[in-house]
């Protein structure tokens, strides 16, 4: 390997042992880096190799990997993204989650692709990366502060302007080991699935701060990378649908579009209905033009991103006048709007921001509030049991109070801090029939998946603690065809959905190994390998890219099996997989088809009839030692 090549592609990771305070770095050899890349690919490898069965999520021996990848900090739009990988508390299995912002880019500017945290500190610490070096700092004064105050205080302490530092960490929820605590930073960005923040809390690491150092990130062929970056951007900005959609508004219009389109994709009142009962006048207030015209107080773009979402909001009227926060994403609106029976958009903006500040993952919070409200409506939880709170549908202030109690594990908040599945089991009785989750223990993203079978099947079979295949129905058609898929499936065909999910499996985890934002790159497996080649000098094609993703898929699958998560848990809870009583898919159920979908899916992935990867599958991916570990 030439020195020029070595310098160009990166592959250097910081290692931090919080128990001993030791900090060192490791440089991957080229073969290993090409096989796993950064982000989720590298994280899956470290998790599999360094966290053996018997190590629980809160054990100091658990690893917390925060990583960008070979495209991080480059001119590729949205290349400030990091992937967070660990063993998480909700499934007690693998967790992978992504956050946008700046951290990935600033780590790359410091010469690092990412950081691997192990051990647990005796007192609260901050990891500060600057000038190509890193140090652990005492953070006792940050104890209990929320994820926005954390940024304010660290900027002041470090004497660095906000534009020159990225800060991600945990709020009170993470410090108190709430099982769905998140890794939150840069005012509005969250990698929160499967309790990443709880793991960070168990290690007593409050924050990771990275200073922006002079660039640029070294790449193999700057001109070629600029050309691919432009192509990726133009494929969105020149697309008539996306130009008026995600490019202009991000996800802000998701609620209004779902209602007006009658698509049934909004999660309403914990799946008790599919109809969001909201007047046209109220609905208009949830739309991008109304909100951005009234409340935008500043831009808040991520690294190298030209999208016109991510703004700062200041509410200028009504009971929340003067409240300042970040423009919510669709999933926050879904959680704090239809899911809890709330039609007041300003209330949803406040809840979305408080959820982030306290350090929660917002989807799990929405499903949890939906469960509590349904239990309250049906007399399973009383006002007395809820510490005096009136948890009627749509009561924003009660939700606000309950979130704070959960963050501090006060009263009923201590039970609810365990997440939806365990809280329902503790409440008992009918509550377990109302709870929406996978049988592994995590909750879905923010849609009603009963009319989105690709997503429900993906969520329930995933080994990441969230979706693993992703929304591949929106991948560019030529990219789908480059990996041998003709096009999106019939959304209600068991065979087409399970085949589609199996054939696209790996694309998302490849993308999550690069350090880029999915909104900007659309999991474009046709052009993303070209970007990797420009950054590294390699000759990766879409098939090799898919192998990188499949390698991570199989490592995470094997990790979960070895950690006691049986493939028999590849199913949704009864309410999650229930039959909608109204809406555009009323009366249609995926449940009777589930077993045949699993059989087809396992077969196409090269797994046996019980969902265990076969030896030949693992050997073909160059991870044959995993077959020995699994005894197959």
């Amino acid at each position: 390997m030439s020195e020029e090549r070595q310098k160009s592609y990166g592959g250097k990771f910081l290692r931090v042992d919080l128990t001993s305070g030791r900090i060192w770095s490791e440089q991957l050899d080229e073969e290993t880096y090409r096989k796993h890349l950064g982000g989720t690919g590298y994280g899956a490898k470290v998790l599999y190799e360094e966290v053996p069965p018997g190590v629980e999520w809160s054990d100091p021996e658990n690893r917390l990997i925060v990583a960008s990848g070979p495209l991080g900090g480059t001119r590729v739009n949205g290349s400030g993204t990091v992937s967070v990988i660990t063993k998480g508390p909700l499934t007690n299995g693998a967790a992978t989650s992504q956050a946008n912002g700046f951290l990935g880019a600033f780590m790359r500017l410091n010469g690092l692709d990412g950081v691997v945290i192990q051990g647990a500190a005796e007192s609260l610490k901050t990891l500060y990366i600057h000038d190509g070096e890193a140090e652990l700092r005492e953070a006792g004064h940050l104890s209990g502060v929320d994820t926005w105050e954390m940024i304010d205080l660290l900027q002041e302490e470090l004497g660095v302007d906000e534009r020159r530092i990225s800060v991600f960490g945990i709020g009170p929820a993470g410090e108190n080991l709430v099982h769905f605590a998140a890794f939150v930073g840069d005012r509005g960005h969250v990698a929160g699935h499967n309790g990443t923040g709880a793991v960070m809390g168990s290690k007593r690491l409050k924050a990771i701060a990275a200073q922006r150092t002079p660039g640029p990130v070294p790449v193999y062929n700057r001109q070629a990378l600029a050309e691919v970056a432009t192509t990726l951007f133009r494929r969105i900005a020149d697309d008539p649908v996306r130009r008026e959609g995600v490019y202009r508004w991000g996800t802000l219009r998701g609620v209004t579009r779902s209602v007006q389109g009658g698509t049934g994709t909004l999660p309403v009142r914990n799946y008790t209905t599919n109809i969001y009962n909201i007047s046209p006048e109220e609905l208009e207030k949830w739309d991008g033009p109304y909100l951005q015209e009234r409340y935008v107080s500043g831009r808040h773009n991520c690294w190298a991103c030209r999208f016109q979402h991510c703004t700062m909001f200041t509410i200028t009227e009504g009971p929340y006048k003067g409240f300042t926060g970040e423009e919510p994403e669709y999933e926050q609106f879904a959680a704090f709007g239809p899911l809890i029976g709330n039609t007041d958009v300003e209330g949803a903006i406040v809840l979305a921001n408080e959820c982030d500040r306290l350090g929660f993952e917002n989807n799990e919070m929405g499903w949890l509030m939906g469960l509590v409200m349904e239990c309250y409506e049906k007399g399973i939880l009383t006002q007395e049991q809820l510490d005096g709170l009136d948890m009627s549908w749509g009561n924003v202030e009660a939700v606000r109070t309950l979130m704070r109690k959960i963050a501090h594990r006060e009263g009923i908040g201590d039970l609810l801090a365990e997440g939806v599945m365990r809280a329902a089991q503790a409440i008992g009785g009918e509550a377990t029939n109302f709870a929406i989750h996978t049988m592994k223990g995590n909750t879905p993203r923010g849609h009603d998946h009963r009319s989105r079978w690709t997503e429900m099947f993906d969520t329930a079979t995933s080994n990441t603690g969230t979706m693993e295949t992703g929304g591949m129905v929106l991948m560019p058609l030529d990219a789908l065809q480059a990996i041998g898929v003709e096009g999106p499936p019939d959304m209600f065909s068991s065979e087409e959905v399970s085949t589609f999910n199996a054939k696209t499996k790996g694309a998302m985890l490849f993308e999550d190994s690069l350090g880029v934002c999915r909104f900007n790159t659309r999991t474009d497996v046709l052009h993303l390998p070209r970007a990797v080649n420009a950054a590294t000098g390699w000759d990766m094609d879409p098939q090799e890219a898919m192998c990188v993703g499949r390698r991570a898929v199989n490592l995470l699958r094997a990790f979960n099996i070895r950690h006691g998560i049986s493939p028999e848990l590849d199913v949704p809870s009864s309410r999650y997989g229930s039959t909608p009583i109204d809406g555009p898919a009323a009366g249609v159920s995926i449940q009777p088809l589930w077993d045949e979908m699993l059989a087809n899916y396992y077969h196409l992935l090269g797994w046996d009839e019980k969902g265990v990867p076969k030896r030949e599958t693992l050997e073909a991916l160059g991870i044959g030692q995993v077959a020995d570990d699994l005894g197959v």
Binding site: V241, G254, Q260, N363
Partner: protein, 100 residues
């Protein structure tokens, strides 16, 4: 002949009304026995760009990037493109929504 209502949601509506990015509602006359496919082929007959947006040109299926709701129900659950139209039918056409 019978009349059906075609509602085109924002982002797709620009193909039906120049410079229009809001919702467009059209009344269309269709012949007796006409199917959803007949209607879509008729409205795309003079518009190749729209045809390529609505259809998978290789297979003739509705594009996976498009969602069609027929009388409040997904087209896939209502007989697909070969479903026969009746007077007063309501067809809603929109880009598929993405995300989790």
């Amino acid at each position: 002949m019978s009349s059906v209502r075609l509602e085109v949601m924002p982002w797709l509506s620009r193909y039906f009304a120049a410079e229009h990015s809001g919702r467009v509602v059209l009344e269309r006359e269709v012949s007796d026995g006409a199917t959803v496919r007949d209607l879509l082929e008729e409205i795309t007959s003079q518009n190749q760009e729209l045809k390529e947006v609505l259809f998978d040109t290789k297979t003739g299926r509705l594009s996976g990037h498009i969602t069609l709701i027929l009388n409040g129900r997904f087209l896939e659950l209502s007989g697909g493109l070969e479903a026969k139209l009746k007077p007063g039918d309501a067809i809603r056409l929109m880009p598929s929504l993405g995300g989790g």
